[in-house]
Symmetry: C2
């Protein structure tokens, strides 16, 4: 049975240790393997890509792409219930991400000095969907919907082929819903390398999105460090859930949520924090019962072994623990969540109340399930529509604006000993053209705004 | 005299080469040096920090911080003209960045399913200001104003000490304007390592901002790759300016802008693209005249040697070249800029018209001068207020919401073979508590919204 640990009786060191994440050491061997896969794609493009796919995915393909006609045919094989579920999830995700649409800004910072911030969609994005045996249409939606809303002109999907050298119907159906423009079959470091560098068939993209195994993660890091390399969405790590529960929580609900996280993988982290001993004892018992009935019992058991049920002296301490841990997923199953939510900001996504299972956000509430994990919830954002745009600025200075602002630029450039910066202003101010245009400018303004 | 190259007469290879950036190879030696500096700070904290500062900056300090009382005293020594210039720049930067304030979002994606996106300021930010001999108050403003507006609770500044073991009055004055809470004296990899890992004196921060030399850049990369490491603002590279000019442009203005970029460093990239041969010939002559009078003539001459004046067959080609190059700074000195601006999105910051010198944005228009360079303007954003916040999401599902949404979650979890995910929903739907709460929920809604 999962042990309950008493926070107030622990030393600060033991407390810190209880919240420590398993070390994700990337071996030198893996780094070297990934580097040579990237080199192979750089040098031999499609040929290397197909060879590596044959070697690692055990599927021999004649070309990297899954033609859109075939994607269409496969999508039609999706069972109706799954189609309907994808449609509901698609609509909710689309509704929530549409509300995130950025607005351009124009500000006159002083008379004659107009500054703008504009948003442009990324030109090309590559969406990596892990897979092989599994079918992950939800990840297609989480990456594909914002790419579609941002209207990124090039949006391609890549995913490891199944034994038939294709993708599952559900993935194809979700891809079509999101208006994916091309689909490629490949996985691991070779898929990331192909998206980063391009091959004869696969376009090089400006940003790569999507989760993956250690090879995918390492390849994303390596390509993003290359000169002119693509941006990447988020640093990766194993999935996590922290539940804050009080004595109004249902132990069976809490246990079910903990296990839904634990089944992701043996390195998943699961923590329940509560000021109620009765609740934690109920969770202990519910975990034992529910675990026994799970198909992925072995994985979940391994994950639970590294996880904790923490008894605190108060709700405030429970909240403090969550803020210190900064979980990817945070479930708040307490009677009055609102006051605590004002303090709970260091999490990827927060699930509020007794009827908001964490799996709801994984699939269908509308929030994105690509979230910062491994403590990165303290300094990285959850994936959202903004990640598919670039922000850039513009400024327009009129002659009158330069007359007013010029001296400040000159004085700062002088302070920083950058004379050419200074002269780019003084040379304009001293020019005949400036005097003429200033007069024209004033006359025009005078006409528009007679005093 | 700077050569004019004719775009339409060049092979595609030669065109590509003309827009290629100088390779910024980071040597293995530098990487190893930086790694051992990070290790030294990790192991010996302040002691290593002070030793490295003595070794690399030639200044022996007794402690890493510059006490705020001393910052205050130094700030008072700032000349009035510089104070006034900093005040104007501060106000404009503050005005423009205030307009970037993000808004929380709440959306009911379907009845009983409420999704939110909230923004929280980063808890702690570290601002690196390069320096030593130079005084760069403008960079203090560009990093300090948004940190202040976001109200990040911990915001500290670190900069290499001058010969007196202090910072310039202007830096201190700017830091006080931005409400910097602590100032530390150090530079290079040791400064970045201290901000990333913390020492006895210097706090570890969640995100590190600011430009720097090759050691600083490499250190930022290395610490951001560490487990639990800080986020960083942007990948770095040498500064760049591309000017698009037509025959209404003033050759002297264009030349002055090109030189203001060229004086940054021998590796600065400067390109002028124009469909007007007369304009380019004018720029050639103006460059020769203005260059001869520059204090930083040697640096600017080196930079100009690797730079190009490109004659195109049309404005459209000039615009296409800019989009392919994706410059950090883009100056558009043409008679009718507006139609072209709709196409020009791949740049860090755009300077519109004849009276908007690039140095205006470096200092005082209000836009941020921390920009993606080295081609990253195609996939990274210019620094803005949003970079000092984290986005995270929340969702609240009511019993009625779960009743409607539950089946979609169940069907998707089944498709993805994640049974515990499925059971977290079915177990709730099948519970007695759910039926009771659903009835209560409906009754409450019935009272609120009588039909």
């Amino acid at each position: 049975m999962q042990a309950i640990i008493r926070w107030s009786e622990m030393t600060p060191e033991a407390q810190q240790q209880a919240l420590e994440r398993p070390v994700q050491a990337v071996s030198g061997t893996l780094k070297t393997q990934v580097a040579s896969i990237i080199d192979a794609i750089a040098e031999q493009g499609d040929q290397a890509f197909l060879e590596l796919t044959a070697r690692f995915d055990g599927v021999t393909l004649t070309r990297p792409e899954l033609p859109m006609a075939r994607v269409q045919a496969l999508a039609e094989q999706t069972p109706d219930a799954v189609k309907r579920a994808i449609d509901i999830a698609y609509t909710n995700i689309r509704t929530f991400h549409t509300a995130q649409q950025p607005q351009n800004i124009q500000v006159t910072t002083m008379p004659g000095v107009i500054c703008e911030q504009r948003f442009a969609p990324l030109q090309s994005v590559g969406l990596y969907i892990p897979g092989g045996s599994a079918s992950l249409p939800s990840t297609v939606l989480m990456l594909g919907v914002p790419a579609q809303l941002a209207n990124c002109p090039t949006r391609v999907l890549i995913s490891p082929p199944n034994a038939e050298g294709e993708l599952t119907p559900a993935i194809c159906y979700a891809a079509l819903r999101c208006g994916i423009l091309a689909v490629y079959l490949g996985g691991g470091a070779q898929a990331i390398a192909a998206l980063a560098l391009g091959t004869e068939t696969i376009p090089a993209v400006d940003k790569i999105f999507g989760p993956g195994n250690a090879y995918v993660t390492e390849a994303k890091q390596q390509v993003s460090q290359r000169v002119g390399g693509p941006a990447i969405d988020l640093p990766a790590g194993p999935s996590e859930l922290l539940v804050i529960a009080d004595d109004t929580a249902d132990p069976a609900f809490v246990a079910a949520d903990l296990l839904s996280q634990a089944e992701h993988g043996p390195d998943s982290q699961v923590i329940c924090v509560s000021p109620s001993q009765a609740l934690l004892e109920g969770v202990q018992q519910a975990l034992a019962i529910q675990l026994a009935a799970l198909p992925r019992q072995t994985i979940a058991t391994q994950a639970m072994a590294a996880s904790s049920l923490i008894l605190t002296d108060s709700m405030q301490t429970a909240v403090n623990i969550s803020e210190a841990y900064a979980p990817e997923h945070l479930s708040v199953q307490v009677s009055e969540p609102e006051p605590w939510l004002a303090q709970l900001t260091r999490a990827g996504s927060i699930f509020v109340g007794h009827y908001t299972p964490e799996s709801g956000g994984d699939y269908a509430t509308g929030t994105n399930h690509v979230l910062p994990t491994y403590g990165f919830a303290r300094n990285y954002s959850s994936l959202g529509l903004l990640d598919f745009y670039r922000r850039y600025t513009l400024q327009t200075v009129t002659p009158a604006g330069l007359q007013d602002l010029g001296q400040a630029i000159i004085d700062l450039a002088a302070e920083e000993s950058l004379d050419a910066h200074l002269r780019a202003v003084s040379l304009r101010l001293e020019s005949e053209r400036f005097q003429q245009d200033l007069a024209l400018n004033s006359a025009a303004n005078g006409q528009k705004e007679p005093s």
